[in-house]
Symmetry: C2
Subunit: 159 residues, 2 copies
């Protein structure tokens, strides 16, 4: 027994299994993400980041601040600026200045953006269902509950 081991909690001594779990988690999400990216591109000619932004905005009909989008999507502020710029150019999203705070701009989907997203969302939902078909509804619920801890651990923090 090494000097390291005696200092460790037996439950946390063997860190190999957690590293393996992390690698599996990462590979699973990359595989699914890659497949969804590919299907969104070939079917709707849309990139995954753009779809993600539209999905976030669709859930909030009153719009979101740039900083809320950044936090929700877990990407940097500058990234959101560029994405919204391009989506605005394409008429899918608009910035409005209805606040008393002139630093902020409320971003929301245009009517074209909503229609566009609804069509894509139906396919997206079906694809996710297909790609996760290894899991029954019950298993999905259990697993989702297991993973709940993470989002909440960091969510709310700026990055």
């Amino acid at each position: 027994m090494t000097s390291q081991e005696v200092l460790m909690d037996p439950e946390t001594t063997d860190d190999k299994s957690r590293v393996r779990l992390w690698l599996r988690l990462l590979r699973a999400s990359r595989a699914i993400e890659g497949e969804l990216r590919e299907r969104l591109r070939t079917t709707f000619n849309v990139t995954l980041p753009r779809f993600d932004v539209m999905a976030a905005l669709y859930r909030e009909p009153d719009g979101m601040l740039m900083s809320q989008l950044s936090k929700y999507l877990m990407v940097s502020n500058g990234n959101v600026t560029g994405l919204i710029d391009r989506l605005t150019t394409d008429g899918l999203v608009q910035r409005t200045l209805r606040d008393g705070d002139r630093r902020t701009s409320v971003v929301l989907l245009t009517e074209a953006g909503r229609e566009n997203f609804e069509i894509m969302a139906a396919s997206h939902r079906a694809w996710v269902n297909e790609l996760l078909s290894h899991f029954t509804t019950k298993e999905s619920e259990v697993l989702a509950e297991t993973l709940k801890v993470f989002a909440s651990d960091w969510e709310g923090e700026a990055r």
Copy 2:
């Protein structure tokens, strides 16, 4: 009961739970990935993609082909080219032409690259352990087994 539902297997009818699972999976891996990215940057001044490449090469002392790296990391060929270019410039990686096939180049870590990686890997392992500390060793093993299906579903396919 709608016309849709009668056509579906009862086990797969309710797709909401799978979509929720996907979103949780994605948020969990993004949160962990973001935290690791930040720590690698501030502690070792290295980017996550560079760490990932070095980790892949460390496992293969005899080196890997560009296409193997691309497949293993699930990123495009062009992306690997750029990463290896930059790592080569910094003396952490080298291309060798020891094959009878002049199209291919075998990439491997330099001695400096191996030393550099070993130092980072120790911290990385500890960080993963910390970030996944919600899971006991047993839970990690069970969960990793559950996620095993995915990687193998797509792995081996070119992207």
